[in-house]
């Protein structure tokens, strides 16, 4: 129960019921006049429009759903590859940035003066470069990174047979940076004692990061990671700009043949909402479980 208001009493409940009833009638009337009638007049509810999608005896039904299945499989494939790639790349990037930050405060005292100076300058320069990369790729739209991958990589002599890889690269570049930042802030927000205890036990910087900080940071970021999966699933639909055969491109092909855009997008949209809603629910569940567990 919300703390913002009292539990509604009998009078408020009665008012709510009456108000909802009136509002429901008004909304239904408006929907009928403004949505149903114009659509029905244009024949948008006719069997010719819906049949291929909902009527198993329709001649196109099997083919349509076979194509949608293919599109869904391609969407999931691209999303899975992208999230796996971003996880690996994001982890490496986060560790690199934490290490570089640690290196910046080191004086390299045991080494000859010129070498130490060089190392210190190098760590600063590398830190600045990785920081710039993060800012750039975090600030670019994913459509643009996919576009850049599809057009730019062949120009640089890297080309792939499958459009899939351009989509995956475009998605990975962006989400890798996002995950790296989540992981890094997770590591930096751990209590200082974690790193200090590791140092007291004689672990080096790299060992501390890999065995102490990173695993804890993963646990904290698990809900955010699942949330990012929702983002990736939605963003694979951007593959349509290079005609990667994911769900949206398949939808477009079906529409090209059957001429029923509204119906196809209703079905495809419902699929997206269902899958993503389940994933979000999973993320919330994991978060609650993690919050319950003591001694983090």
């Amino acid at each position: 129960m919300s703390v913002l208001f009292e539990v509604p009493g009998p009078r408020a409940r009665r008012l709510t019921r009456i108000g909802s009833g009136v509002a429901a009638v008004a909304v239904a009337a408006a929907a009928y006049l403004l949505v149903y009638r114009p659509l029905a007049d244009k024949g948008q509810f006719s069997p010719a429009m819906w049949g291929p999608l909902v009527d198993p005896s329709n001649e196109s039904f099997a083919l349509v759903w076979q194509r949608i299945g293919l599109g869904a499989a391609n969407t999931l494939l691209a999303a899975a590859l992208a999230i796996a790639g971003s996880l690996v790349g994001g982890t490496l990037l986060a560790v690199l940035r934490v290490q570089l930050r640690a290196a910046q405060s080191r004086r390299f005292a045991g080494l000859a003066a010129p070498v130490a100076l060089l190392l210190r300058v190098l760590s600063r320069v590398l830190a600045a470069i990785t920081r710039a990369c993060v800012e750039v790729f975090r600030g670019l739209p994913v459509v643009i990174t996919i576009f850049l991958a599809a057009r730019g990589l062949p120009e640089l002599g890297v080309s792939f047979e499958l459009d899939l890889w351009y989509v995956v690269i475009g998605l990975t570049v962006y989400n890798m940076v996002v995950l790296a930042e989540i992981l890094r802030s997770g590591m930096e927000n751990l209590s200082r004692g974690q790193g200090e205890a590791a140092a007291a036990l004689g672990l080096g910087t790299a060992q501390t990061t890999w065995t102490i900080l990173l695993p804890q940071s993963y646990r904290i970021m698990l809900p955010a990671l699942i949330g990012q999966l929702v983002v990736v699933l939605k963003d694979t639909s951007l593959g349509f700009i290079i005609s990667y055969e994911e769900t949206m491109v398949i939808a477009k092909q079906i529409i090209g043949n059957l001429g029923n855009p509204i119906q196809v997008y209703v079905v495809v949209g419902a699929g997206f909402v269902a899958v993503n809603h389940l994933l979000s629910a999973l993320a919330r569940h994991v978060q609650r479980r993690l919050a319950e567990r003591p001694g983090r």
């Binding site: 576009f147 850049l148 949206m248 855009p261 909402v273």
Partner: protein, 235 residues
């Protein structure tokens, strides 16, 4: 790199159009998002259900689908979104008044989509206010509206700024999709136009387009980072 200087007007025009799209959609999304947040925290259960349904729907749909719905659904309903041809406003935002409706469709799609994230950001801000504040206000006899207006919302604003800013940054980036949905002349369609139609070299165009988006997103991001750091010290 010559193309950057020779076609500077094209890049600048693209940036300006994207900026127009973002300004309009951000305004719309902030207004609609506030309404959605109000629905989600309202004391009336059916209104809460409406708010939740809105957020569930638009947060889980890809923007691509929302854009397609705007582009196919609105014409089927017999609307060219002419209600957005607001007199006076179309002097500055000249695309609002054109006969081609795609800019208006893009504004509508971006507004609807972003409003769900804005609503969640505001609600998160309200939830971040310590429960004792609202309880104290209630024990003083303040009504729901008074409670929100004079106790909860002023404090919620602080906690909501960063997530709100992030929603706006995401919206700026999402606006790139408009160029692939018939809006001619925004930054992303400039990229396509210059490289594939006019055959300009790819790399300089890519640099120009990226710079345009970064010019809008990075300053906002840095500002939010600073805000967050300052708050972390305060806590």
């Amino acid at each position: 790199m010559g193309v950057l200087l020779d076609r500077f007007d094209v890049f600048a025009g693209g940036l300006w159009l994207t900026l127009q799209l973002c300004l309009l959609s951000a305004t719309g999304a902030l207004l609609l998002g506030t309404v959605v947040a109000a629905l989600r925290i309202s004391p009336v259960p059916p209104l809460r259900a409406v708010g939740t349904a809105y957020v569930t729907l638009f947060r889980n749909l890809p923007l691509t689908v929302v854009m397609f719905f705007a582009a196919f659904g609105l014409p089927a309903l017999g609307s060219n979104a002419d209600f957005l041809r607001i007199p006076g406003l179309d002097v500055v935002f000249d695309r609002l008044g054109t006969d081609l409706p795609y800019f208006r469709f893009a504004v509508i799609a971006l507004t609807l989509y972003t409003a769900s994230f804005v609503g969640e950001a505001i609600r998160a801000g309200v939830n971040a206010v310590p429960a004792g504040q609202a309880e104290a206000a209630r024990s003083l006899g303040l009504t729901f509206a008074q409670n929100l207006r004079s106790v909860v919302l002023p404090q919620a604003g602080k906690a909501a700024v960063v997530p709100l800013g992030q929603a706006i940054i995401a919206m700026i980036k999402n606006s790139a999709l408009a160029g692939f949905f018939g809006v001619v002349g925004d930054l992303s369609s400039v990229a396509d136009q210059l490289t594939s139609v006019e055959g300009e070299p790819f790399l300089p165009v890519a640099v120009g387009i990226s710079a345009g988006y970064l010019l809008m997103t990075v300053p906002v991001g840095l500002f939010l980072d600073r805000l967050e750091q300052r708050r972390a010290v305060l806590r």
